[in-house]
Symmetry: C2
Subunit: 185 residues, 2 copies
Amino acid sequence: MSNKKRIALDMDEVIADVIPKFLDLYEAEFGQRLTTNDFRGRKIYDTPAAYKIRNHLFDKGFFRDLPLMANSQEVVRWLHDYYDIYIITAATEFKNSLEDKYEWLEEHFSFIPWQRYIFCGDKSFMKADYMIDDKASHLAKFDGKGLLFSASHNVESTGDFTRMNSWLEIKAFFEEELKKDGIVV
Amino acid sequence: MSNKKRIALDMDEVIADVIPKFLDLYEAEFGQRLTTNDFRGRKIYDTPAAYKIRNHLFDKGFFRDLPLMANSQEVVRWLHDYYDIYIITAATEFKNSLEDKYEWLEEHFSFIPWQRYIFCGDKSFMKADYMIDDKASHLAKFDGKGLLFSASHNVESTGDFTRMNSWLEIKAFFEEELKKDGIVV
């Protein structure tokens, strides 16, 4: 087994940006282009009227063409040299997401081997040193170091985690961690 | 979170029987119906001539209609009352297996919710009390109690695990475990 420390890395709203697609779907449904301030503190679909647009998560293709989160690809590529990165994504609610997510990872993160993909529901079984996720509830059940990636729905979340506002902050965080571990980068 | 102990349960050659399909594929290719004695100590395709039949694992549909391993369904149903059962299957080598396995689980083990499906490659990240698997290499990286489900390829395997030859043996094993834990069944 590898001697590297392990990072459990989420996909949606961490490396894959679902917001542009939801803004489009919302606009198509309600004729209004929201700004992120309009759904600060919640998911864009967390209102009784808008909840139906969540159903698009079940659509074949929804997850296939999501844009990359800014700087995620290059920072993950850099982290990959120093850590074993497992992609762990809550995918099993949506059967149609499985192949889409697989192909998306092959396209954008081909340096991460299929041995380190984890398509799951809850994440409470995950053994790792770090977890990067936008859901505080996953981090609450994790016994390593949790990093909360900021998203509209988690701006009010508090807990035993460190908040990260961008991939550049994540890079800076791990530069410090590597120094503590005596690894020269 | 649940107070139940957790079982990590493999699929292929544990709850899903791949052997009949491989016997058919072998016969179609080589005109000979093997018996399990013919590939004792290895996988049916672990010869230079036969290795190509392993490629059928990549076929769409391969995993969709596998028969159940004898008694697996009723014993897992029974275990489900006393344990949190996670289905953990090395699926990500085969993109086409993902939907097939998902539908197979929905058909035969509908009492296990999607929150407890884990489609992955290696399994070294798994935190559980028990793991039931036919691959000794997965159990070797597991820090709970490992149960090796007997299969042609593992008859010679040794290691820190308890061998199980059938689902009825698994039931008897967990009846004893539950007694030790003071749980009345």
